[in-house]
Symmetry: C2
Subunit: 229 residues, 2 copies
Amino acid sequence: MSVTYEYPRPALTVDCVVFGLDAEDLKVLLIQRGIEPFAGRWALPGGFVRVDESLEDAARRELREETGIGEVFLEQLYTIGTPGRDPRERVVTVAYYALVKLSDHTIRAATDARNAAWFAVDDAPPLAFDHDRILAMAHERLRGKVRYRPIGFELLPPKFTLRQLQHLYEAVLDRTLDKRNFRKKIIRMGILVDLDEIETDVAHRAARLYSFDKKKYDRMTRQGFNFEI
Amino acid sequence: MSVTYEYPRPALTVDCVVFGLDAEDLKVLLIQRGIEPFAGRWALPGGFVRVDESLEDAARRELREETGIGEVFLEQLYTIGTPGRDPRERVVTVAYYALVKLSDHTIRAATDARNAAWFAVDDAPPLAFDHDRILAMAHERLRGKVRYRPIGFELLPPKFTLRQLQHLYEAVLDRTLDKRNFRKKIIRMGILVDLDEIETDVAHRAARLYSFDKKKYDRMTRQGFNFEI
DNA sequence: CCAAAAGTGTTTCACGTACACCCATGC
DNA sequence: GCATGGGTGTACGTGAAACACTTTTGG
């Protein structure tokens, strides 16, 4: 099955920065390496691109194989090919970042055969290779993009409260927001559906539940609307 | 010099979308292919990544070799690896976009051994491979980024008039801007240096010349300033 | 003197920001 | 009844947008 080429070629991999959100803070999903180099170290899920699959397909496949995650928001982040970033040979990696609803995925990731775990982004262990840098880039991209694209909803369950939504932005942007102003602004955008339901099992007054109206957002966007927090 | 690997690997290339600006509109630099596939077609400058050079180095080298351009603003755009995008074999390409000052580069690009030419972005010929799509992505990235980062200055000579600056934004964003509001806004930012010089050889009242104060911009940015047009 | 572009101020309106209290619910 | 978060309105200031005429220069 080996192959011969006229000139040497870098190896090509994909790596995924998977973000999740819980009641405390923004989390990232890491897996513990079993083999050298960096055996025992935490790293981003990822692996080699097969010669007949697209880059995004490779990222999704690796996510599924290593963490059990499927069907998530996934976007290309950056491609890193610094010579020497892998001690074995020249490896170019296409980094992606994913946003998942923690409620859907916590169990599967934890029970997978590989050692996978969620870490607070601001408290992640030192990572293998240059994965620290990739994580930092992904975090920055998320912080930037969440403000002008409605991708934050990918981190929330389909039905959420305004409090959860505000908490999302506070966690990602790392600053507090004024409750009244936040609610005014997001409601006035007209991209949320008031579901006329309230949360259950909370030890205080239950909040109204909303959902994100993607169809309406798309329609409005075509007419010049610009999401912005 | 040939090499054998255990598994097949995609070939890895870089492609560059080079933007320039003249008195009319936004231009892109294309080269005409001499060989199959797509012989005779216009294409983005680019080529194979060597196994010991970084991706950005590869992009700069190809630019130099194919168009004579050096020392320009260069930023990674996107990596495209759709199987079948090159009819010969699997090729993954890392696309970059560059911003050049046309005054510096017009002559060298035109007199290079290869057939290179500037085209209006909105009037470019059909390109080889999926380069149309890459060009469209680059154009969109430029349109987006020029509004919140001072990268537009890379397209202007070191000394420019406010009219030129406004023209730049009108060409890139493809809409007209109000002259008075534009001047007020850009002057009030405090990132331009009034050079106390005026343009020469114009058939009308000569305008004041300005330059972009990058040092001051960096200082202000560190203190929370946000460029925005 | 004519053509062409440079340069300049004011008004209006929308939106961001700051800010504090009562309400509903579960325990 | 108390603790916890849910939910609401107003006043102020800044900045975006709309808009037209005079000045300067070269030909």
